[in-house]
Structures are given as structure tokens and as C-alpha cells.
């Protein structure tokens, strides 16, 4: 897909091994993602899709290769916290909300790394809850929410510092199909409304079909990529 939009994520021939080199999770993976694009990464379990997402999120560093985000080689940065706080919003398969905090308080957690006051943080959290259609659940703790609701709170938390890139690792993996589709709808809506770049990892073809482009991985490599059928249908 080369529609003239700027390439914001450029993964170049990345290798990542675990177990002292015995397990090769990524074996020369290369991927480009343009601004505002919705890319789904699919493939069988253990193919390296979550590892690729973790590397883009700078949760760990590759053994070799380069990852350039907004023109900057992130693997050479000493402190990646600011990058993770400002450029990336992360949604995990498990919601990973703090159990002792309410929905609104959970959304404020990444904002502690900003200069926002407590009042500003709270107001912003409430706006984000409204964005994911959870305005009435601000005071609920994770244990009081359904799986889909928790995941929507996690999406709102990922957006708390207005990142231009949203990375979602199997965000519907633990949800039933109805809740999963609702979460997907929220993610898709945010990507369109806010123009964020969305990279989503999923083994579910139904979920992946909602993307602009689908990238298939096998044994640590990208073996195929192209516009999804749904995207193709939209173009037609």
C-alpha cells in the first residue's frame, strides 16, 4: 500500500532470539506502516507477531536490524520511557488494569509521567471513558466490570497521553465474539476519528479482516501482506 502517506513505523530486517539464541522469534522481519493506517498482524501461535509488537513498543530491543519510528531509530535510545509514554499506546490481551483503582483512576496511570495536574488528569480520564462509551462506569473497579468493559477501559488508558500510534496485542483474545467485536468497533472508531496508526495482533481472521492491511507471519518472518478483503470491498 503506497498511498503517499508518511511511513511512521519502519521495521528493517529485525532479528530477535530468546533462550540464549536457541529460540529465534523474529528472523529478519521487515514491515512498514503508514500514518493513520490500520494493520493487522496474523499468524499461528509462536510465529513472532507479539514479539514484533513488543519491539515496536520498545518493551525490548532486537538482536539486530532497525526499528525506525517517526524517523528515529528507537533501539539506539538509552531511555525508552518517554517514547513509550508519548508515542505508543499499548493494549494487551489481558486488560492489566490495577485492581485497587477505579476505571477513571486506571486511565490516569500513564498521565503521572506528564505535567498534568490531578484535576486535569481526572477530566481527561472522564473524556476518554466517554470516548469508549464507558462514562457511567468511571467509579467501577475492574472486578465490577465485564471482560469487554475492562478492555475498553484499557483502550482508554492507552490513549491517555494522546499517542499517534496504538499497538494492540490480541485485544479480543480473552473475550466472547460479541464483546470482541465491540472492542474492535471501539478501536476502529478511534483509529478513524483520531487518525491514529493502529497495529493489531490477532490470530482471529474475523478481527484481522477489519484492518486496512493484513500482514501474515510464519516462523519469525512476514510471508504475505495485502489489503484485507473488507478493505478491498470498501475500495470497490
Amino acid at each position: 500500500m503506497s498511498d503517499g502517506r508518511e511511513i511512521v513505523i519502519d521495521v528493517r530486517n529485525v532479528v530477535k532470539t530468546f533462550d540464549e539464541g536457541h529460540t529465534r522469534a523474529l528472523d529478519g522481519a521487515t514491515l512498514q506502516v503508514r500514518r493513520g493506517e490500520f494493520v493487522a498482524i496474523t499468524g499461528p501461535s509462536g510465529c513472532g507477531k507479539s514479539t514484533l509488537l513488543h519491539l515496536i513498543a520498545a518493551l525490548e530491543r532486537p538482536d539486530s536490524g532497525e526499528i525506525v519510528v517517526y524517523g528515529e531509530e528507537i533501539t539506539r535510545r538509552r531511555d525508552l520511557s518517554a517514547y513509550r509514554a508519548r508515542t505508543i499506546g499499548l493494549v494487551f490481551q489481558l486488560h492489566n488494569l490495577l485492581p485497587n483503582l477505579t476505571a477513571a483512576e486506571n486511565i490516569q496511570v500513564p498521565m503521572y509521567e506528564t505535567d498534568l495536574s490531578a484535576g486535569q488528569r481526572r477530566r481527561k480520564a472522564l473524556e476518554l471513558l466517554a470516548l469508549v462509551d464507558m462514562a457511567d462506569k468511571a467509579r467501577k473497579r475492574p472486578a465490577q466490570l465485564s471482560g469487554g468493559e475492562r478492555q475498553r477501559v484499557a483502550i482508554a488508558r492507552a490513549l491517555s497521553n494522546d499517542p499517534p500510534i496504538l499497538l494492540a496485542d490480541e485485544p479480543t483474545g480473552n473475550l466472547d465474539s460479541k464483546a470482541g467485536l465491540r472492542v474492535l468497533e471501539v478501536l476502529r472508531g478511534i483509529q478513524r476519528q483520531r487518525g491514529v496508526t493502529l497495529v493489531l495482533v490477532s490470530h482471529d481472521p474475523t478481527i484481522a479482516a477489519a484492518a486496512d492491511r493484513i500482514v501474515r507471519m510464519l516462523d519469525g518472518r512476514i510471508i504475505e501482506e495485502g489489503a484485507s478483503a473488507e478493505a478491498a470491498a470498501r475500495v470497490v
Binding site: L59, S81, A82, R84, R86, N96, N100, L101, E105
Partner: protein, 371 residues
């Protein structure tokens, strides 16, 4: 939510563990604060004796293990009187024995003529008369305890004395005891010609500290007691108490530190995945350190508050014992509580260093994979 409330909220996640840790640390802090209060109060009681009457300073035998073991002679008094700056020297002999329910009843033997200098403010009756060996002046607390009034008889060391006056000096040990004729105390103590302390009155315009230093230089066997810091020269018991207090403080920090470390290490390992998530959400290492250290400090501040409260209750209960009541009246100075607070903060920092380091050094990806 302010960051401090987030920290507090984390502590409430394991209420029982937090509560037990606070209780455990607070016991150490209680010991430190209570001992600090008792040590200070004991020092204050000793100081009250050293400053009794209207003397400018007192003199004891250098190196005495306890104030009551200080032994001086008439020659020592003569040495002092040789200094032209000294106007008067009053010698007293102190004894301690059980009287009534008080096992540590302080008896001050003094020449009745010296009561002009060694003034005991009377609340009833009169001072000792010269030459009357069977007269006694009681402190107001002693009079209450013995239920004795002026004109009545009390028994001290198996001798009967007539109460001629009741005084209130403000000194706990003196008000719980009595003033008797010097000759009488010397006789039943079998310490003829001896004194415990010499109270010195100087002439106007004399620099007390300069004079005291000169006396010590010229007579190394004498210890001049100008202020409380000199007490150790004639009462090593208080120095020992201070050393015990310091030892307990250090022990409290180490034992409390291990308790906090145990709690914090458990909390950190239980929350490995959470720390990974926080790092993944952009938290800096410093923020994680702040959170873990903050939890530890908050834990120990709660322990310091509880420990201080328990120390006040404990010391108030302890002084209900007659043996203690005769010696001290608890004085709650900021120093004792600051020491407790310092122990709390020391424990918090010592106990949190390793867990905080561990929490901050988790790789976000590894921590997220951790189950």
C-alpha cells in the same frame, strides 16, 4: 488521584499484611521512643537533684558509677573554699532505702544551717532545727504516700522521726523523699565525715564555667557539674542507659528493616507483571523507585505514629509502678518522637532499597510475560 494516594491505595491492597508489618515495626519504634522518654526523664530527675537549692553548680567524685556512690570528704570542701570566687559550699549525703511502699526513698542529709543555701520551698511547717537529730522534712509526694502530716511521726531506717515540714521542690526524686540532719544520715549510713555532693554558691560576677573548668584541671578527682552534659562524670548509669538506647535504636532499624524488606519484596514479586505494565505504559525507572520507596516510607510513618502512641501509653503505665514513680516523671520531648520518626524513615529506606531496585530493574517484556 494524586500520586501519594496511589501509593496509599497500593498499601491497602494487602490490608492484613500491611497491618501486621506496621504493628511489627511499631513495636521497635515503641521501644525506642519509650526508652528515649525514660532516659530523658531519668536525666531530668538527676539534673533536678544537681540543681537543687540555689547553688550555681555541684561537685561530685569523678568516675563514680552512680550519683549515690560519689564520696567526698571535708578536705574536698576545703579545697573548694580555697577559691576566692566561691562564697559557700553545702555538703549533702544521700541515701536510698525502702520507706513505706517506695523502695527507692531518697534521703538527703544536710546540715540544717545549710538549708539557707540548699533551699527546699516549704508548703507546710518549718525547716530542720539545728541540733535536732530526730526531725525530718518530707517531700509533698512522700507525705501523701506515707499519709503523714506535720507533727506526726514516720519511720526511716528503723528510726522514728518527727515531721517538721513538708516541701515541694519540683524535683521528682526529692519530692518523693525527705531531708534529714546530715549527722543522722551519716550515722545510719556509717559514713562519718563523708558527703555525696557539694553544692557551690559563687560570688557575683564569677564565670561559673571558667571556674568549674579550673577546679577540674587543678583537682582531677573532682567532677564539676555545671549542666546536664556533665552528669556522666558522676553517674555512668545514665551513660549506660544512653548506650542501651542507641543499641536498641540500631537493632530496631535493622530488625524493622528486615521486616519491611520482607513485606516489600513480597509485594514487589507479587506485582512483577504490574511493574512491567507500568514500564510499558511509559513509567520511568525513577517513578517505579518513587512508588516502592513511597510505599515503604508510608508504611513506616504509620508504624512511627502507632509506635509513638503506644510509647506514650506504655510510659504512662510504667510510671504507675511505685519504684519508677519515685524516680521519674515522664517528659515527652520532641527529641524522643523525632528519634522514633528517624528510626521509621531509616527502616523504610533500608527495607525498600533492594525491593525498589528489583522493581525498577524488571524488563517490561519479561515482566509482562511473568505469571
Amino acid at each position: 488521584m494524586p500520586f501519594i494516594l496511589l501509593i496509599f491505595s497500593n498499601l491497602l491492597r494487602q490490608k492484613i499484611r500491611t497491618g501486621l508489618t506496621v504493628l511489627g515495626i511499631s513495636i521497635g519504634i515503641t521501644t525506642v521512643v519509650a526508652l528515649g522518654v525514660i532516659t530523658h526523664s531519668a536525666r531530668a530527675s538527676t539534673e533536678e537533684i544537681l540543681r537543687a537549692g540555689t547553688s550555681d553548680f555541684s561537685v561530685g567524685r569523678a568516675g563514680s558509677a552512680d550519683l549515690t556512690f560519689s564520696t567526698l570528704t571535708g578536705d574536698d570542701a576545703e579545697k573548694l573554699l580555697a577559691y576566692p570566687q566561691i562564697e559557700h559550699v553545702s555538703g549533702v549525703l544521700m541515701a536510698i532505702s525502702r520507706v513505706g511502699s517506695n523502695p527507692f526513698f531518697v534521703q538527703v542529709g544536710i546540715d540544717p544551717a545549710d538549708l539557707t543555701y540548699f533551699e527546699m520551698p516549704l508548703v507546710d511547717g518549718r525547716k530542720l532545727a539545728a541540733g535536732a537529730g530526730d526531725e525530718i522534712m518530707l517531700g509533698n509526694e512522700a507525705a501523701d504516700n506515707l499519709d503523714a502530716a506535720v507533727g506526726e511521726s514516720v519511720e526511716v531506717r528503723e528510726q522514728s522521726f518527727t515531721v517538721v515540714g513538708i516541701y515541694h521542690s519540683g524535683a521528682v526524686m526529692l519530692d518523693g523523699g525527705a531531708v534529714l540532719p546530715l549527722a543522722t544520715v551519716r550515722e545510719y549510713e556509717r559514713k562519718a565525715g563523708l558527703y555525696t555532693l557539694l553544692y557551690v554558691r559563687v560570688r557575683p560576677g564569677t564565670d561559673v564555667e571558667v571556674l568549674a573548668a579550673r577546679i577540674e584541671e587543678e583537682h582531677p578527682d573532682l567532677a564539676t557539674l555545671v549542666d546536664l552534659s556533665d552528669v556522666g562524670e558522676v553517674d555512668q548509669g545514665l551513660e549506660i542507659l544512653d548506650a542501651i538506647n542507641l543499641g536498641i535504636t540500631i537493632l530496631a532499624i535493622f530488625i524493622g528493616g528486615i521486616a519491611v524488606m520482607n513485606t516489600m519484596v513480597m509485594a514487589v514479586f507479587e506485582r512483577t507483571r504490574e511493574f512491567g505494565i507500568l514500564r510499558a505504559l511509559g513509567w520511568r525507572t525513577r517513578r517505579i523507585l518513587q512508588m516502592v520507596l513511597g510505599e515503604s516510607i508510608l508504611l513506616c510513618l504509620m508504624a512511627a505514629a502507632l509506635g509513638s502512641l503506644l510509647a506514650v501509653i506504655l510510659t504512662k503505665l510504667v510510671v504507675l509502678l511505685p519504684a519508677i514513680q519515685a524516680f521519674i516523671s515522664p517528659e515527652y520531648t520532641p527529641d524522643a518522637f523525632l528519634r522514633g520518626l528517624a528510626v521509621g524513615i531509616g527502616v523504610a529506606i533500608l527495607g525498600a532499597l533492594y525491593p525498589a531496585y528489583r522493581a525498577a530493574s524488571f524488563s517490561p517484556a519479561q515482566a509482562i510475560r511473568y505469571e
